[in-house]
């Protein structure tokens, strides 16, 4: 069976607490989905939620189901890529980095694409029939948050996350794009005065969406790259609007086929973005809906932006790219992690083994140069777990020399800083910083207290605590 979202959910059902299915009707466009997610988040719980009976934008029962919070745990992300969910941290990041460098040629179907079991065109293609989530108080309206695909004039496909805003017009949305490659494709079509074909993929195997965050060269065909993340060829089918001039992922749940009319812009945003700040209202391209195709009993996917649902998404992709970029120059790189507290975008923790003088600043600066929005790098020794923020902050407070261990890179330093088009909302950034939080070795300095590891290994909680107390800790 080709990999798809249903197959992945079937795997999840075999694991306790990973997927909760909700039968009670829910109104996504009236914040009810994010209200539930926020309460789970506040309890430190991050299950995926599958709503069986959401309403649509007309407040009627939708014919679609709604899935959210799927990416909120690294263990689930590990499962997506065939990594052991028991080792979901740096092992996963390294595997992502490796997969991002490979391609697998797609497989083209001539007929029988599951995503085209049902087709709505013309007046029937009303996006208001979808269960679209309105996420946050100041959001301009319900917003679709999954990946879009466009095709360059040279012929390769680009897949990127983008937001599509519902406008209460059944066939017209506004699409907010943050990525370099989709911007370039739109500009190319506009230069020719032609509408640009675009599709919104609202559900697929999660590796399809997650893999789209890999950073690759302009000319790489993302459909082939996604084959690497899936571990098998991505199945494609001709679109119902443009035929084989634009191929679509055959095993998706729902696809909205549309066009971006040249030069046409409309108001969109605010929207609560990944850094948990609203993106400011602005003008973005119009998405004219041409057709909606879907599987029977299809599932719309959504992302709970600014919360745990987007931390592993961003973190794993960036960690994988940085591992591949930094390892050749820093063979003593132990691990690195994009911190949850920085929304997996703005702060990185890097652990090195046997740090040489000056190396902390050097690797921190190089990491910061890789991303305009990454602005804080903390460098620690390899005995600090970079996936444990408490340990990292302990190292900062204990080891950092506040007069000599902090390097500030101003906006004039030549290191790329955030630009308005980066689209992640206002911030108070005014530079970048590298914090050396490794234990001093150039003079006599204390060492961290530790319980003997061999005694910990032999003295199991299960052998000492009452079963009821143990159960409460799970």
């Amino acid at each position: 069976m080709p990999k798809d979202l249903r197959g992945f959910l079937h795997e999840l059902r075999a694991r306790p607490d990973e997927l909760i299915e909700v039968d009670r009707p829910v109104r996504p466009h009236e914040f009810e989905v994010t209200a539930l997610l926020k309460q789970l988040e506040d309890r430190g719980r991050h299950p995926a939620l599958l709503f069986q009976h959401p309403t649509d934008q007309h407040d009627r029962p939708s014919e679609f189901r709604l899935l959210t919070n799927l990416y909120a745990s690294r263990a689930r992300c590990a499962m997506m890529f065939g990594v052991d969910p028991a080792t979901p941290n740096y092992e996963l990041s390294r595997e992502f980095g490796r997969k991002a460098r490979e391609t697998v040629a797609p497989l083209v179907l001539s007929s029988g694409a599951p995503v085209q079991e049902c087709v709505w065109r013309g007046s029937e293609a009303d996006v208001g029939r979808l269960p679209i989530v309105r996420h946050f108080t100041m959001d301009i309206g319900p917003t679709l948050t999954m990946t879009h695909v466009m095709r360059s004039l040279e012929g390769h496909y680009d897949i990127s996350f983008a937001k599509t805003f519902y406008t209460w017009d059944p066939h017209r949305m506004v699409v907010s794009i943050h990525t370099r490659d989709l911007h370039r494709i739109i500009r190319e079509y506009e230069a020719r005065g032609e509408p640009a074909p675009i599709i919104n993929v609202l559900g697929h195997h999660p590796a399809f969406h997650h893999g789209s965050l890999a950073r690759n060269a302009w000319e790489v065909d993302d459909y082939a790259m996604i084959g690497s993340f899936l571990g098998e060829p991505l199945r494609l089918a001709p679109s119902v609007t443009w035929g084989d001039r634009f191929m679509v992922p055959a095993d998706a749940e729902i696809i909205i086929e549309g066009e971006i009319p040249p030069g046409e812009r409309d108001i969109c945003d605010p929207f609560g973005e990944v850094p948990r700040l609203y993106q400011a209202q602005c003008l973005r391209p119009v998405f004219q809906v041409k057709a909606i195709t879907f599987r029977r009993n299809a599932i719309v996917q959504d992302i709970f932006s600014g919360f745990h649902d987007c931390y592993p998404l961003n973190a794993v992709a960036t960690e994988g790219a940085l591992e591949m970029a930094l390892r050749p120059r820093f063979p003593n790189l132990h691990a690195l992690h994009m911190a949850d507290s920085g929304s997996a975008l703005m702060a990185i923790y890097i652990a090195l083994k046997d740090i040489r003088p000056g190396q902390a600043e050097e690797i921190g600066r190089l990491a910061l140069e890789r991303s305009p929005v990454l602005h804080c790098a903390v460098i620690v020794d390899d005995d600090i777990d970079v996936f444990n923020e408490g340990e990292v902050l302990w190292a900062v407070h204990t080891y950092t020399n506040l007069q000599r261990g902090i390097t500030i890179l101003p906006e004039t330093s030549g290191v790329a800083h955030g630009q308005p088009w980066s689209g992640f909302g206002p911030s108070n950034w005014g530079g970048k910083v590298v914090i050396a939080a490794n234990r001093p070795t150039d003079f006599a300095f204390g060492s961290r207290s530790e319980v003997p590891a061999e005694v910990i290994a032999q003295t199991r909680l299960a052998d000492y605590l009452p079963p009821a107390a143990l159960a409460r800790m799970r």
Partner: protein, 63 residues
């Protein structure tokens, strides 16, 4: 850092913010996310368009 301005909707008096570069002087009507009223920035009940204070940017390394 992207400069923004806050606008107070003249209809419902909720506040929201907009890109200064794209919308402050573009003669484009803003859209209130709370009541969907459309209005020009000049028609807002109030505006807060204070920019980052001069000198707030970081000047250099402490190394």
């Amino acid at each position: 850092m992207e400069r923004i301005f806050w606008a107070e909707c003249p209809t419902c008096h909720h506040n929201f913010y907009c890109s200064h570069r794209e919308l402050r002087h573009a003669r484009v009507k803003l859209l209130c996310p709370f009541c969907h009223a459309r209005f020009l920035p000049e028609e807002a009940a109030s505006l807060d368009e204070r920019d980052r204070p001069p000198g707030a940017e970081v000047k250099g390394s402490n190394n």
